[in-house]
Homo-oligomer: 183 residues x 2
DNA sequence: TTTCAGATGTCAGTTTGTGACACTATTTTA
DNA sequence: TAAAATAGTGTCACAAACTGACATCTGAAA
């Protein structure tokens, strides 16, 4: 097991046990059997250990969009479907996702960081849409898609009954109402 | 002049002169003629000195929405108009806004913090809409409205020719195209 | 085996941020 | 007006987050 993984495991354990602010990098490093200095070589700062994914989501979503493009389909619908295509991952790791979410919600700095991930998601989606649509339109679509995802994700966190895919569709329908039924 | 204001002025000066990361709290405090300790009593951390506004925007936008509610109008349109109603402030302080923006763009931590302001904006707008609409619908409208604002704001930063109000309307029209003209 | 690159340890130092306590100025209240 | 509460500050000591420089180790290629 590489030291990076050991550090991540140690951090996860300690953050859940005693909270993010109450665990020091020192402790994480000790539990992982390495030095504090090594921690900071693997992660740019303390919170980075929770956010290491290399925009995996973004890449998978973008891939879905480029390979499932269809002129007949509204771009926002396509983007939402791309989220549906990866939603199973969330349903399958509900416990882990919930634990991580709890840590993040407990600390404002972490919430800010989580928000930043939304920005890079927007960029990924916008770029994957750009070959087909006008740049501004792609960006706006990406922004709305990510908001729909955020909202569906929040509902999914709070309600264990429905799958993330169902929540995504629910919110998407809400969006359609937003436009057409309230004139 | 209260020490809080002196600290803000000193910070603004130094951040522009030497960048955010290269100026220490120590230096800010010295220039303001106070102690480092009193800096941290006024601001919860170093970046807080740039973000002290008490959600002024949110309050004004929410006020506009509650007092200009109209069943005939789509909620998102109303929300965008509420942004238009405060856009003059940006046009009138373009230089200051640009300077602040430049500082924020130079540092990832600051960008994250700026994003958090978007979240509290969403909450303000969502709450001001809730008396009239379903909760989920209010939230989605608020999220979209803030995205429209973000995008318009970005365009306004990059292009000195158009007012923020014009940019807001441009992006709103884009949104209407997004829905109806691409079936 | 030798060599070389990459990962880790060591250590000293800067910076951020906090707690505790003392002092001063301003405002309240008797 | 005088006494007393209160808010704002300074000082000091300290924990924790990070960084740079340099030494050391380890594993794989030559």
């Amino acid at each position: 097991m590489k030291s990076k993984e050991k550090l991540q495991a140690a951090a996860a354990k300690l953050f859940i046990e005693k909270g993010f602010e109450n665990t020091t990098v020192q402790e994480i490093a000790s539990l992982a059997g390495v030095t504090e200095r090594t921690f900071f070589r693997q992660f740019k700062d303390k919170s980075d250990v929770l956010f290491d994914t290399n925009n995996d989501l973004g890449q998978r979503v973008a891939a879905y969009i480029t390979s499932n493009f269809d002129v007949e389909k509204k771009p926002l619908k396509l983007a939402v479907e791309s989220f549906v295509s990866i939603s199973e991952f969330f349903d399958n790791s509900r416990e882990r996702v919930l634990a991580r979410n709890q840590i993040i919600q407990s600390n404002p700095d972490l919430q800010e960081r989580e928000l930043l991930k939304g920005q890079v998601l927007i960029t990924s989606i916008s770029n994957s849409l750009s070959p087909q649509y006008d740049g501004d339109l792609s960006e706006l679509t990406a922004r709305f898609a990510v908001e729909i995802f955020h909202m569906a994700y929040t509902k999914w966190i709070k309600n264990a009954e429905k799958s993330l895919a169902e929540q995504l569709l629910t919110v998407y329908e809400l969006y359609e109402n937003l436009f057409c039924c309230l004139e």
